[in-house]
Symmetry: C2
Subunit: 112 residues, 2 copies
DNA sequence: AAATATACATAATTTTCTTATGCATAAGAA
DNA sequence: TTCTTATGCATAAGAAAATTATGTATATTT
Protein backbone atom coordinates (compact mmCIF):
# COMPACT_ATOMS: atom_id res chain seq x y z
CA UNK A 1 0.00 0.00 0.00
CA UNK A 2 1.02 3.64 -0.27
CA UNK A 3 3.26 5.86 1.78
CA UNK A 4 1.01 7.08 4.52
CA UNK A 5 0.14 4.78 7.37
CA UNK A 6 -3.36 6.16 7.43
CA UNK A 7 -4.56 3.58 4.92
CA UNK A 8 -3.83 0.79 7.35
CA UNK A 9 -7.09 -0.95 8.11
CA UNK A 10 -9.05 0.43 5.19
CA UNK A 11 -8.10 -2.11 2.54
CA UNK A 12 -10.97 -4.51 3.18
CA UNK A 13 -13.48 -1.69 2.99
CA UNK A 14 -12.00 -0.51 -0.29
CA UNK A 15 -12.19 -3.99 -1.79
CA UNK A 16 -15.79 -4.52 -0.74
CA UNK A 17 -16.81 -1.16 -2.12
CA UNK A 18 -15.11 -1.67 -5.49
CA UNK A 19 -16.68 -5.08 -5.90
CA UNK A 20 -20.06 -3.61 -5.15
CA UNK A 21 -19.54 -0.95 -7.79
CA UNK A 22 -18.10 -2.86 -10.68
CA UNK A 23 -19.56 -6.32 -10.25
CA UNK A 24 -16.74 -8.83 -10.47
CA UNK A 25 -13.08 -7.85 -10.51
CA UNK A 26 -9.76 -9.63 -10.36
CA UNK A 27 -6.86 -8.73 -8.11
CA UNK A 28 -4.64 -6.92 -10.52
CA UNK A 29 -7.64 -5.01 -11.81
CA UNK A 30 -8.34 -3.78 -8.28
CA UNK A 31 -4.81 -2.43 -7.88
CA UNK A 32 -5.13 -0.54 -11.16
CA UNK A 33 -8.58 0.78 -10.38
CA UNK A 34 -7.48 2.16 -7.02
CA UNK A 35 -4.42 3.74 -8.56
CA UNK A 36 -6.62 5.36 -11.18
CA UNK A 37 -9.26 6.65 -8.78
CA UNK A 38 -6.69 8.15 -6.42
CA UNK A 39 -4.58 9.47 -9.28
CA UNK A 40 -1.62 7.35 -8.30
CA UNK A 41 -1.63 8.37 -4.67
CA UNK A 42 -2.66 4.99 -3.35
CA UNK A 43 -0.89 1.91 -4.61
CA UNK A 44 -2.13 -1.34 -3.16
CA UNK A 45 0.70 -3.81 -2.85
CA UNK A 46 0.24 -7.41 -3.86
CA UNK A 47 1.51 -8.57 -0.48
CA UNK A 48 -1.44 -6.84 1.11
CA UNK A 49 -4.06 -7.44 -1.53
CA UNK A 50 -3.92 -11.16 -2.17
CA UNK A 51 -3.95 -12.26 1.48
CA UNK A 52 -6.84 -9.84 2.03
CA UNK A 53 -8.81 -11.35 -0.83
CA UNK A 54 -8.18 -14.86 0.46
CA UNK A 55 -9.32 -13.84 3.92
CA UNK A 56 -12.50 -12.21 2.67
CA UNK A 57 -13.21 -15.34 0.67
CA UNK A 58 -12.58 -17.56 3.69
CA UNK A 59 -14.98 -15.41 5.70
CA UNK A 60 -17.66 -15.99 3.12
CA UNK A 61 -17.83 -12.42 1.88
CA UNK A 62 -16.45 -13.14 -1.58
CA UNK A 63 -16.90 -15.78 -4.24
CA UNK A 64 -14.19 -16.66 -6.75
CA UNK A 65 -14.32 -17.68 -10.37
CA UNK A 66 -11.14 -18.56 -12.22
CA UNK A 67 -10.83 -17.65 -15.87
CA UNK A 68 -8.08 -17.93 -18.43
CA UNK A 69 -7.64 -14.85 -20.58
CA UNK A 70 -4.86 -14.55 -23.11
CA UNK A 71 -3.33 -17.67 -21.65
CA UNK A 72 -3.05 -15.98 -18.22
CA UNK A 73 -5.05 -16.79 -15.11
CA UNK A 74 -7.48 -14.35 -13.59
CA UNK A 75 -9.37 -14.90 -10.38
CA UNK A 76 -12.57 -12.93 -10.50
CA UNK A 77 -14.08 -12.02 -7.16
CA UNK A 78 -17.59 -10.90 -6.42
CA UNK A 79 -19.59 -10.19 -3.29
CA UNK A 80 -21.71 -12.91 -1.74
CA UNK A 81 -25.03 -11.95 -0.17
CA UNK A 82 -23.25 -11.80 3.14
CA UNK A 83 -20.57 -9.71 1.50
CA UNK A 84 -23.15 -7.20 0.35
CA UNK A 85 -24.48 -6.84 3.88
CA UNK A 86 -21.00 -6.58 5.35
CA UNK A 87 -20.05 -3.99 2.74
CA UNK A 88 -22.94 -1.82 3.90
CA UNK A 89 -21.71 -2.02 7.48
CA UNK A 90 -18.12 -1.27 6.55
CA UNK A 91 -19.12 1.75 4.50
CA UNK A 92 -21.18 3.11 7.38
CA UNK A 93 -18.18 2.65 9.68
CA UNK A 94 -15.96 4.38 7.16
CA UNK A 95 -18.23 7.37 6.96
CA UNK A 96 -18.40 7.57 10.72
CA UNK A 97 -14.63 7.33 10.86
CA UNK A 98 -14.27 10.16 8.36
CA UNK A 99 -16.71 12.31 10.30
CA UNK A 100 -14.81 11.69 13.51
CA UNK A 101 -11.47 12.48 11.93
CA UNK A 102 -12.80 15.67 10.42
CA UNK A 103 -14.24 16.65 13.75
CA UNK A 104 -10.85 16.04 15.36
CA UNK A 105 -9.00 18.02 12.73
CA UNK A 106 -11.48 20.82 12.36
CA UNK A 107 -13.87 20.82 15.31
CA UNK A 108 -17.33 22.31 15.09
CA UNK A 109 -18.66 23.13 18.54
CA UNK A 110 -21.54 21.15 19.86
CA UNK A 111 -24.37 23.08 21.49
CA UNK A 112 -23.69 22.97 25.19
CA UNK B 1 -7.91 2.52 20.34
CA UNK B 2 -11.54 1.92 19.42
CA UNK B 3 -13.42 -0.86 17.69
CA UNK B 4 -12.98 -0.18 14.01
CA UNK B 5 -9.64 -0.94 12.45
CA UNK B 6 -9.89 2.18 10.36
CA UNK B 7 -8.26 4.25 13.09
CA UNK B 8 -5.04 2.27 12.77
CA UNK B 9 -2.27 4.63 11.82
CA UNK B 10 -4.09 7.82 12.70
CA UNK B 11 -3.15 8.07 16.38
CA UNK B 12 0.03 10.07 15.85
CA UNK B 13 -1.77 12.56 13.66
CA UNK B 14 -4.51 12.96 16.25
CA UNK B 15 -1.99 13.60 18.99
CA UNK B 16 -0.06 16.17 16.99
CA UNK B 17 -3.24 17.97 16.05
CA UNK B 18 -4.59 18.12 19.60
CA UNK B 19 -1.31 19.43 20.93
CA UNK B 20 -1.33 22.11 18.29
CA UNK B 21 -4.83 23.13 19.29
CA UNK B 22 -4.67 23.17 23.03
CA UNK B 23 -1.05 23.97 23.73
CA UNK B 24 0.23 21.47 26.25
CA UNK B 25 -1.71 18.40 27.30
CA UNK B 26 -1.08 15.30 29.35
CA UNK B 27 -1.87 11.75 28.35
CA UNK B 28 -5.03 11.17 30.27
CA UNK B 29 -6.31 14.54 29.12
CA UNK B 30 -5.82 13.47 25.50
CA UNK B 31 -7.90 10.33 25.98
CA UNK B 32 -10.72 12.37 27.49
CA UNK B 33 -10.56 15.05 24.85
CA UNK B 34 -10.77 12.54 22.01
CA UNK B 35 -13.65 10.77 23.71
CA UNK B 36 -15.44 14.08 24.08
CA UNK B 37 -14.86 15.26 20.51
CA UNK B 38 -16.01 11.99 18.99
CA UNK B 39 -18.90 11.65 21.44
CA UNK B 40 -17.51 8.46 22.87
CA UNK B 41 -17.01 6.75 19.55
CA UNK B 42 -13.25 6.76 19.71
CA UNK B 43 -11.56 5.63 22.89
CA UNK B 44 -7.81 5.75 22.85
CA UNK B 45 -6.37 2.97 24.96
CA UNK B 46 -3.47 3.59 27.27
CA UNK B 47 -1.54 0.73 25.72
CA UNK B 48 -1.58 2.62 22.44
CA UNK B 49 -1.29 6.17 23.75
CA UNK B 50 1.69 6.07 26.07
CA UNK B 51 4.05 4.23 23.74
CA UNK B 52 3.00 6.63 20.98
CA UNK B 53 3.81 9.64 23.14
CA UNK B 54 7.18 8.17 24.06
CA UNK B 55 7.96 7.53 20.42
CA UNK B 56 7.00 11.04 19.34
CA UNK B 57 9.18 12.38 22.10
CA UNK B 58 12.10 10.19 21.08
CA UNK B 59 11.70 11.45 17.52
CA UNK B 60 12.01 15.00 18.73
CA UNK B 61 8.47 16.03 17.91
CA UNK B 62 7.34 16.47 21.51
CA UNK B 63 8.76 18.00 24.67
CA UNK B 64 7.76 16.81 28.13
CA UNK B 65 7.30 18.63 31.40
CA UNK B 66 6.40 16.73 34.54
CA UNK B 67 4.10 18.36 37.07
CA UNK B 68 2.56 17.23 40.31
CA UNK B 69 -1.09 18.15 40.66
CA UNK B 70 -3.17 17.03 43.65
CA UNK B 71 -0.31 14.76 44.64
CA UNK B 72 -0.56 12.96 41.28
CA UNK B 73 1.93 13.05 38.42
CA UNK B 74 1.11 14.58 35.08
CA UNK B 75 3.39 14.56 32.06
CA UNK B 76 2.58 17.55 29.94
CA UNK B 77 3.51 17.26 26.28
CA UNK B 78 3.88 20.04 23.76
CA UNK B 79 5.05 20.28 20.16
CA UNK B 80 8.65 21.13 19.42
CA UNK B 81 9.41 23.33 16.40
CA UNK B 82 10.02 20.15 14.47
CA UNK B 83 6.77 18.81 15.84
CA UNK B 84 4.88 21.80 14.48
CA UNK B 85 6.32 21.23 11.03
CA UNK B 86 5.63 17.54 11.15
CA UNK B 87 2.09 18.20 12.34
CA UNK B 88 1.49 20.32 9.24
CA UNK B 89 2.66 17.49 7.03
CA UNK B 90 0.60 14.88 8.82
CA UNK B 91 -2.54 16.98 8.60
CA UNK B 92 -2.02 17.49 4.88
CA UNK B 93 -1.61 13.74 4.50
CA UNK B 94 -4.74 13.16 6.50
CA UNK B 95 -6.78 15.48 4.35
CA UNK B 96 -5.45 13.82 1.25
CA UNK B 97 -6.27 10.45 2.71
CA UNK B 98 -9.83 11.55 3.46
CA UNK B 99 -10.24 12.92 -0.06
CA UNK B 100 -8.99 9.67 -1.53
CA UNK B 101 -11.28 7.58 0.62
CA UNK B 102 -14.26 9.71 -0.26
CA UNK B 103 -13.37 9.44 -3.92
CA UNK B 104 -13.19 5.66 -3.57
CA UNK B 105 -16.49 5.46 -1.75
CA UNK B 106 -18.36 8.02 -3.81
CA UNK B 107 -16.48 8.71 -7.04
CA UNK B 108 -16.87 11.96 -8.92
CA UNK B 109 -15.78 11.57 -12.51
CA UNK B 110 -12.69 13.33 -13.66
CA UNK B 111 -12.88 15.22 -16.95
CA UNK B 112 -11.42 12.87 -19.52
C1' DA C 1 17.00 -9.65 -26.62
C1' DA C 2 15.80 -7.19 -22.66
C1' DA C 3 12.66 -4.69 -20.05
C1' DT C 4 8.15 -3.82 -18.66
C1' DA C 5 3.37 -5.11 -17.84
C1' DT C 6 0.17 -8.51 -16.50
C1' DA C 7 -1.28 -12.03 -12.98
C1' DC C 8 -0.97 -14.84 -9.24
C1' DA C 9 1.25 -16.30 -4.54
C1' DT C 10 3.73 -16.62 0.00
C1' DA C 11 7.30 -15.86 3.73
C1' DA C 12 9.83 -12.80 6.85
C1' DT C 13 9.65 -8.74 9.08
C1' DT C 14 7.78 -4.40 10.84
C1' DT C 15 4.31 -1.38 12.53
C1' DT C 16 0.53 -0.48 15.25
C1' DC C 17 -2.80 -1.68 17.96
C1' DT C 18 -5.51 -4.61 21.79
C1' DT C 19 -5.57 -6.87 25.93
C1' DA C 20 -3.75 -7.70 30.24
C1' DT C 21 -1.17 -6.31 33.86
C1' DG C 22 0.95 -3.36 37.43
C1' DC C 23 1.50 0.67 40.66
C1' DA C 24 -0.41 4.72 43.03
C1' DT C 25 -3.60 8.55 44.72
C1' DA C 26 -8.30 10.90 44.92
C1' DA C 27 -13.11 10.98 45.12
C1' DG C 28 -17.57 9.14 45.53
C1' DA C 29 -20.88 5.52 46.81
C1' DA C 30 -22.59 1.88 49.79
C1' DT D 1 -15.42 2.79 56.39
C1' DT D 2 -14.75 -0.03 52.81
C1' DC D 3 -15.35 -0.65 47.97
C1' DT D 4 -15.63 1.12 43.48
C1' DT D 5 -14.65 4.41 40.10
C1' DA D 6 -11.82 8.02 38.31
C1' DT D 7 -7.35 9.88 37.63
C1' DG D 8 -2.55 9.14 36.00
C1' DC D 9 1.38 6.76 34.58
C1' DA D 10 3.79 2.42 32.48
C1' DT D 11 5.07 -1.99 30.09
C1' DA D 12 4.69 -6.79 28.18
C1' DA D 13 2.45 -10.39 25.36
C1' DG D 14 -0.06 -11.21 21.54
C1' DA D 15 -2.85 -10.19 17.32
C1' DA D 16 -3.73 -7.82 13.07
C1' DA D 17 -2.44 -5.70 9.00
C1' DA D 18 0.64 -3.91 6.43
C1' DT D 19 5.62 -3.64 3.85
C1' DT D 20 9.33 -5.70 1.66
C1' DA D 21 11.32 -9.36 -0.67
C1' DT D 22 10.82 -13.22 -3.23
C1' DG D 23 9.05 -16.63 -6.65
C1' DT D 24 6.65 -18.34 -10.94
C1' DA D 25 4.79 -17.49 -15.55
C1' DT D 26 3.04 -15.28 -19.90
C1' DA D 27 2.39 -11.06 -22.93
C1' DT D 28 3.82 -6.87 -24.72
C1' DT D 29 6.76 -3.21 -25.71
C1' DT D 30 11.34 -1.25 -26.61
Amino acid sequence: MANSKLYKGSLNTIILKLLDEGEKMYGYEITQKVKEITKGELKITEGALYPALHKLEAEGLLDVEVKKVDNRLRKYYKLTDQGVREKTNRLAELEEFIRNMEQLVNPKWSIN
